[in-house]
Amino acid sequence: MEDEILVQQLKKGSREAFDLLYEKYKNLVIRTAYLITGNKPDSEDVAQETFVKVYLHITELKNDAGFKPWMMRILVRTAYRTGKKKSREVPDDEIERLSESQTLVSPLGQMIKREEAEMISRAVAALPIKQKAVVVLYYYNELSVGEIAELLGCREGTVKSRLHTARKFLKGKLESQMDIKGRAQ
């Protein structure tokens, strides 16, 4: 069912509409939250808070068709608040999980070495929260610069700037790590 219809039903108090929206977006929300916060417990907290806010504040959504970006805005702001309190380092156990899990290989994953993916993940995790959010929204959620700007409530130039800085940081980080690894071998 279309989001717009579900939102209209939810605004009238339909619990079923909320459940359907939850089912539709739960994994997108928790995965995006995970990439921004860097760990599973925080991503669960962010997802929980996001859906609770969606339920309680749905009547404040003016454009029913714009549910997804509205929800994503709530998600990112909630993740900001959570992420700001945390270290930029990815906890070792999270990286370990990336290394060992057999379920993490995406269809595209064959094109990238696991070791390289881990390096990128570490580098993304080390980004300042606002740059990290832009990187996640752009690369993982595949939103355009304009969509991200609208979602974050900032100028497109700001998004471009954050993306540029993040790319530069990631590239430098990866090159230095590859260099260290190359010298060690």
Partner: protein, 271 residues
Amino acid sequence: MKTRYEDKIKMALEMQCGGISASETLKQKIDSEIRMQGKIVPISLPDGQEVSMKKSGQGKKHFSAKKLAIGVAAACLLISGGTFAGKTMGYISGYAQSYSYAELDKAEEKLGFSADVLENFSNGYSFEEMQVGDTHAVDENWETVYTFPELAVNYVKDGVSDISLYVDMRPEKGEQAKEPDMTDQCGDIALRYDVYTYKFVPVGYELTEEDLANLERDDYEISEGSDEVEYSQITHVTWEKDGVYYDLLGSDTALSGEEMFAMAKELIGTE
């Protein structure tokens, strides 16, 4: 167009979170949190039946969540007499906007009616903060029966914020089964004072025989959502003026019924 290097970023992110999925308990926690905002919560009884209980709350940004939820929960009792006659089974409140006392006009505009709100009481309590939000009256299936705006005001004295005022114009009124603990009169306005005991329990708490017996009382509620078992005494002075419903709520306050009546009378006298 993304470069190969950028494709790798996307792949790495997909690999990193590809194994992450919502836990089986996430929805349960979300439902629980929503209910904690003031809705009645079904808790499993030992024999598998369910009983409706009022919830404690978390997540209110500025107000004492427990206090706020209790206020709403207590309102359920006030309209339903504890037996929940009619369709309404509880309320869910979402407070979205905060106002200073100087912004009372704006708050009233949002509410859609005028409310008696004081900045200072003669006993030393003073305005701390107020919020306006929509409250959903829901039935037993969580379906909204109707929505009404509500004003919540916090008052503080000596750093203790244990008095709140809730104001609304809910369309549904009802009689209480519980006898008031005290009554008073202010002109032609009837005031009633009620004392409730709340037992807060962790999620998943199993009710004891004693709990079940206490739930039969009109002045005893069990609320789910705390980290450990704790008790709270909630006092209310309630009245209706010009179709507006007022609930002056004390949360573990040392104020007596007479002192709360005096505060109510000051509010009623507000122009």
